[in-house]
Symmetry: C3
Subunit: 181 residues, 3 copies
Amino acid sequence: MVDLSKFSTGEFERGASLIKELLWWLCRCLFFAHSLPVPSVFKVVLLRAFGAKVGEGVVIRSAVNITFPWRVTLGDHVWIGDEVMFLSLDEVRVGSHVCISQRAFLCTGSHDSRQESFDLITKPIVIKDGVWICASSFVAPGVTMAESSMCTPGSVVVKDVQTAIVVGGNPAKFIKKRYET
Amino acid sequence: MVDLSKFSTGEFERGASLIKELLWWLCRCLFFAHSLPVPSVFKVVLLRAFGAKVGEGVVIRSAVNITFPWRVTLGDHVWIGDEVMFLSLDEVRVGSHVCISQRAFLCTGSHDSRQESFDLITKPIVIKDGVWICASSFVAPGVTMAESSMCTPGSVVVKDVQTAIVVGGNPAKFIKKRYET
Amino acid sequence: MVDLSKFSTGEFERGASLIKELLWWLCRCLFFAHSLPVPSVFKVVLLRAFGAKVGEGVVIRSAVNITFPWRVTLGDHVWIGDEVMFLSLDEVRVGSHVCISQRAFLCTGSHDSRQESFDLITKPIVIKDGVWICASSFVAPGVTMAESSMCTPGSVVVKDVQTAIVVGGNPAKFIKKRYET
């Protein structure tokens, strides 16, 4: 059985000093985590200041929860909807022209469920150009969504998604090709 | 592939002046979006002031996220639970004696996923008298839930639901008649 | 059809005075419901002051929504992730070495959907030692998750889960034994 008093983060590195983390918490609370309309350009400046790589034309709505901005890459013209969560303990690499709709959750963190020490496991998430992650979807650690792929609302995406494929359901499975006639 | 720099809202109209929208953002932040117990009667007065049609005996819990109140209609004795989201870019018409439980998400907005310009598509949601939308459910654009229908917790409702029918799952399917013996 | 003007909470008791409830609302807003990093030890002191039984080594992250702390029991080394909701109208009894991941929702409240008065129904949730409730899962009223059981991300758990079994999906079903080789 697990014994969480023996929990180990193994070789996990937080990637920032304690001061930087605390400052990010403060900025997140002041400018990201609530429902007031802070301009996206200002949020982008903050994300970059904390080490995120962010392109042009990025839109970030309200109540967005990003764990470590220094592990986030956003291309050009990325949209992040209300109440989206990035548990970015590991890299979250998002391409260009990507829409991440309301309440989506990109989760890079997990645990070794069979070890007593419940070791932390993190794996990157890669979202390629033109992807649409529909509202209320969950994307699991290690998943790559290829160019122009999509998941329908409420999807639980635990496997890679191929180019221009639409998946959906829990767990998410093939539904159709995005551009088929 | 989509090119979000060419995004078009088409003929979409926001339905309010910029001033009105900003005032709503402010009211939402001060009285709706947090976890303090603001009396429902006061929230109802505010919703009406911003153009919502709201009946008697309406209860609105905490951390509720309503996009455009001027596109919301609530009948009598409607309950809206904690952390409910109304993405009311289009009309959300709710009848009387309707319970919308915690974390439900009524989503009127979508996109044309196959157009380069990713055009905004909005469709009304209609929730008739006596409906119960259970906790953590998602209701898609264009859905009508008929009188006394229900969806079980965590449902993803993408099609119309017939009178007094219970649906559930992802995507939500027929489970049983609500009042069968 | 339901008539919510006739709603009855039946024999339901809130378990606290109005003053105590209002004080809890205030504490929840100040120390639990937002995204600032309040130390877990302080949150634990508050939960105990409001009647929760809480063991040692408990970690409580941000934006956690607990209805009635006086109906919550947490063993030793329990972790509660960001944006977790405990609708603890009835008892939520959590053992030791339990991980409740981000956005999970433990829901003890329901209604009699076939009665005109839509009576409140509450049932306890019991989470035994060593359980892992993965991110974005929903646990229904009355569910017991036995020792070392698990539900995968996005699960909708509506039935009891047996010892060291992994369930998943919507509704959650048997996937495998947690410790099988």
